[in-house]
Subunit: 154 residues, 2 copies
DNA sequence: TAATTAAGGACTAGTTTAGTGCTATTTAAT
DNA sequence: ATTAAATAGCACTAAACTAGTCCTTAATTA
């Protein structure tokens, strides 16, 4: 389903939570409570995010995590890349070395329209967008997939 | 890596091949040769595409497959949906019933900016775009995720 | 020095995907 | 009619990947 992994899902949830109040430290425990994600998992995600410099960590008692930048400067694309590596829908998009079909793969490079489109899309959505009450989206959304997105709670 | 499955990958490769000459029947064997994908796999993919009405099948000797529409009418989004189901990056995007965190998931619905962005992007790329000689893209493609979104080809 | 909190790595169970094979059905040609 | 060429549909297996957990180390504060 063109899925992101659950870990990435959690990362976005966690960071969205942190985006609601910036410049204050969140302990992993606290974030686990707030999001309903199990603590070990929250820790794992935060470690990855810290390594990717999307959050800043402070060790020791009274330590915790905070966003490394303001919410409108953090794109969803950067979060996804941090957890899953470069955004490319196929191996071809990353490196041609692995491309078994390279001989017959006359399509090489032509994945670009797709990859570019998706990257552009994801780079344009920021954490700030995610925490906005959400209401503004036109109807077209439902079209391709389904009809569920109607109820915009919260 | 925000991946599509290999099967979807193959589907796009196969259909791109078929797009280069329309209104002629391609047997599965023929497509396997042309694309370098193993025959059983090609068959599997074509069956799925046929069920989704993206290709038309003709049974019997001299049978084969052909595109159901002209290449510029077939979007990459429709191919992906055929193989992987509705395009949504998370479960939340499909149905809220499965959402374990529903209580704490105050983000619900806010996946929409992301899902919308991606769907729109994929709906705008067609098979016709995929078979265009492609030359217009600069080297930056490999970059991880950033800075590339400037050039809006197509 | 004790308590709190993050960092890093290793491991396991579970799920998903890919690929293959088998049988049935349809059509064309001889 | 019969045979050959194709697709349709289903079921199965092995391999890869993901998620989640746990343990040990390091840093900071009180």
């Amino acid at each position: 389903m063109l899925r992101i992994s659950k870990l990435t899902d959690y990362a976005i949830i966690i960071m969205s939570h942190m985006a609601r109040r910036v410049a204050c430290l969140y302990a992993a425990t606290q974030l686990a409570d707030a999001t309903g994600v199990a603590l070990p998992t929250v820790s794992k995600v935060l470690k990855i995010l810290a390594r990717a410099k999307l959050v800043k960590s402070t060790r020791g008692a009274k330590g915790g995590y905070e966003l490394a930048q303001l919410p409108d400067k953090i794109s969803v694309a950067s979060i996804i890349s941090a957890l899953e590596g470069p955004i490319a829908l196929t191996e071809c998009g990353i490196s041609h070395d692995h491309c078994q079909q390279s001989a017959s793969c006359t399509l090489r490079g032509n994945w670009n329209p797709i990859n570019t489109a998706v990257k552009t899309a994801l780079a344009s959505v920021t954490l700030a967008d995610m925490i906005r009450p959400a209401a503004k989206l036109p109807a077209e959304v439902e079209r391709p997939a389904q009809s569920i997105y109607l109820h915009q709670q919260r």
